[in-house]
């Protein structure tokens, strides 16, 4: 049986990943507001974790964190670890219905973003890369989390529109049917 997944299609996923990588490498080093910077990898991991697909969220979180660590001047492995665990947790907290741009998804992403950024600040403090807890958490951590939340809005919209454009497996359902297979007639007949 071939059920479609509730998240954005593979094509949208690849597109989001490429855009996030370009933003992370090209624009994040150029823009700093009140000590914070965009973390496009956190946005990518969070957006895909909100689809509720835990295994995929874990892998995306791991590779997104690794890309962040390799392109920034930070210890390699810290953001990797945080995004792996964070994506796993977020994918379990969220359900298939929370994907896309909605109040629930924004709230969940906000919490995810704050927790990851503050944990990163604490990690850098413990590793000796930062010396002041207030600046590390307040200025850098909090501002980065807020900027990442702002960047997450278009990503969630894209993820939501990619999900809406498909008549596949969805928690919201249409016409009273909660679960739908990818093609209605033939595949169900093949089940018999």
């Amino acid at each position: 049986m071939d059920f479609r997944d509730s998240g954005p299609s593979q094509r949208s996923l690849v597109m989001l990943a490429v855009v996030a990588c370009v933003i992370q490498v090209a624009l994040s080093p150029q823009i700093s507001i009140f000590g914070g910077r965009f973390n496009a990898m956190l946005v990518l991991a969070g957006t895909l974790a909100l689809t509720g697909n835990a295994p995929r969220a874990v892998y995306v979180g791991f590779f997104a964190g690794l890309f962040y660590d390799l392109t920034a001047s930070v210890p390699v492995g810290l953001m990797t670890l945080l995004l792996t665990i964070g994506s796993f947790a977020l994918s379990h907290v969220s359900n298939a219905g929370t994907t896309g741009f909605s109040g629930t998804s924004i709230r969940l992403f906000f919490v995810f973003s704050i927790v990851v950024c503050l944990a990163n600040g604490i990690g850098l403090l413990l590793l000796g890369y930062e010396g002041d807890i207030l600046i590390s958490l307040g200025a850098h951590g909090l501002m980065s989390a807020l900027l990442s939340c702002a960047l997450a809005v278009p990503f969630l919209m894209v993820a939501g529109s990619a999900n809406q454009g498909r008549g596949g497996f969805t928690a919201k359902g249409k016409g009273g049917t909660r679960f739908k297979s990818s093609s209605s007639g033939k595949r169900l007949r093949n089940l018999r």
Binding site: Q24, R37, V58, F62, G65, T71, L78, S136
Partner: protein, 340 residues
């Protein structure tokens, strides 16, 4: 009924994949990566991978730098656009175009003046150096670094000092084939052997979390005043001696303290995108501190008396009266290497 059972069973199998196994495996890999990264020091396989990734992504960095560069003059453009709204519509477009041209020419003029200043610095200090351009800052919020557009293919190496027309801005900490990462002196992991230019009092200039600079380990019997110029001492063997680092902004002498608390305003207050910098590729013997100078710094870290006619109160701001024992043994200034 059989169809229903099959549907339900298959769905439950899909739901049972919670991702717990991959998360455990990937967390272990992450922790191992972190451990190896910290233990391998300045070079190793993980740093090598980072260097490769930096090389691969450098074209995108260049592109981002080019895209962001016009926004350096955004303030002027906005003010001019506001004024043009009051003019006739056919003049509006022309006005915008001229404004953009002015912004471009202003940038070019600033670039020319910066290059002239760099040439002046190069000739004044007789530096063996290579010019490079800043193409971006750190992509994370926690470190103060910049990326320049030249790397190991231009014979750049780790620990090479970098300066702009105002003075030292930092040193190279990572090198890839065509880019280098420069840790700024305002980064809190940065430290430069420094001295007060007028009295030769020795210290270590360290970055602070708030982006300021602090001159550490200057004993309270040294003569330091607001406005004193801080220069590199050359003792660490990394920076050439005598390059400007900043100006003393506050000097605080706590009661019973051994060392002053000295805040320094950086000579190069802010690095900006597309700014030209000089990477000092090698030092000649005259630019390094001689053995005599090192011995003198160890023997008398507090320096000498001020040669100019100014007073030698030694402090300003919150000045205590007691606790002026010399205390300092020169460890702070003499034995620490630059930039580490």
């Amino acid at each position: 009924m059989p169809r229903s059972q099959g549907f339900s069973t298959s769905l439950n199998n899909r739901r049972q994949s919670t991702g717990l196994r991959p998360v455990i495996v990937l967390c272990v890999i992450s922790i191992l990566l972190l451990t190896f990264y910290i233990r391998e020091g300045e070079s190793g396989p993980i740093h090598g991978v980072r260097s490769v990734v930096t090389t691969i992504t450098s074209p995108v960095r260049y592109a981002g730098s080019v895209v962001a560069s016009p926004f350096n003059a955004l303030g002027n453009v906005f003010s001019n656009l506001t004024a043009s709204q009051e003019t006739l519509s056919d003049l509006k477009a022309q006005n915008e175009e001229l404004t953009a041209q002015v912004a471009e020419l202003s940038e070019a003029q600033e670039t020319a003046s910066r290059l002239e200043s760099l040439l002046g610095l190069q000739s004044t200090y007789n530096l063996e150096s290579t010019a490079a351009r800043i193409i971006g800052e750190s992509s994370d919020a926690w470190s103060r670094t910049v990326t320049i557009d030249k790397g190991s293919s231009d014979s750049f190496a780790i620990n090479m000092p970098v300066c702009n027309s105002a003075g030292v801005i930092g040193q190279i900490i990572e090198v890839s084939a065509n880019t280098s990462t420069v840790r700024l002196i305002t980064d809190e992991n940065s430290g430069v052997s420094a001295m007060v230019q007028s009295t030769r009092a020795q210290g270590i200039l360290q970055g602070q979390p708030d982006g300021t600079l602090r001159l550490e380990y200057v004993t309270t019997d040294a003569d330091v005043q607001e406005g004193d110029i801080i220069v590199t001492s050359g003792i660490g063997g990394v920076y050439p001696k005598g390059l400007p680092l900043g100006t003393v902004s506050t000097v605080v002498r706590e009661e019973n303290a051994t060392y002053y608390t000295i805040t320094v305003t950086p000579a190069s207050s802010d690095t900006e995108n597309n700014e030209e910098v000089l990477v000092i590729t090698s030092l000649n013997s005259g630019q390094q501190a001689s053995d005599e100078e090192v011995a003198q710094a160890n023997d008398a870290p507090q320096g000498t008396s001020r040669t100019s006619g100014s007073g030698s109160s030694g402090s300003s701001g919150t000045t205590g009266n007691s606790g002026s024992s010399s205390g300092g043994d020169g460890d702070g200034s003499g034995s620490s290497s630059d930039g580490e």
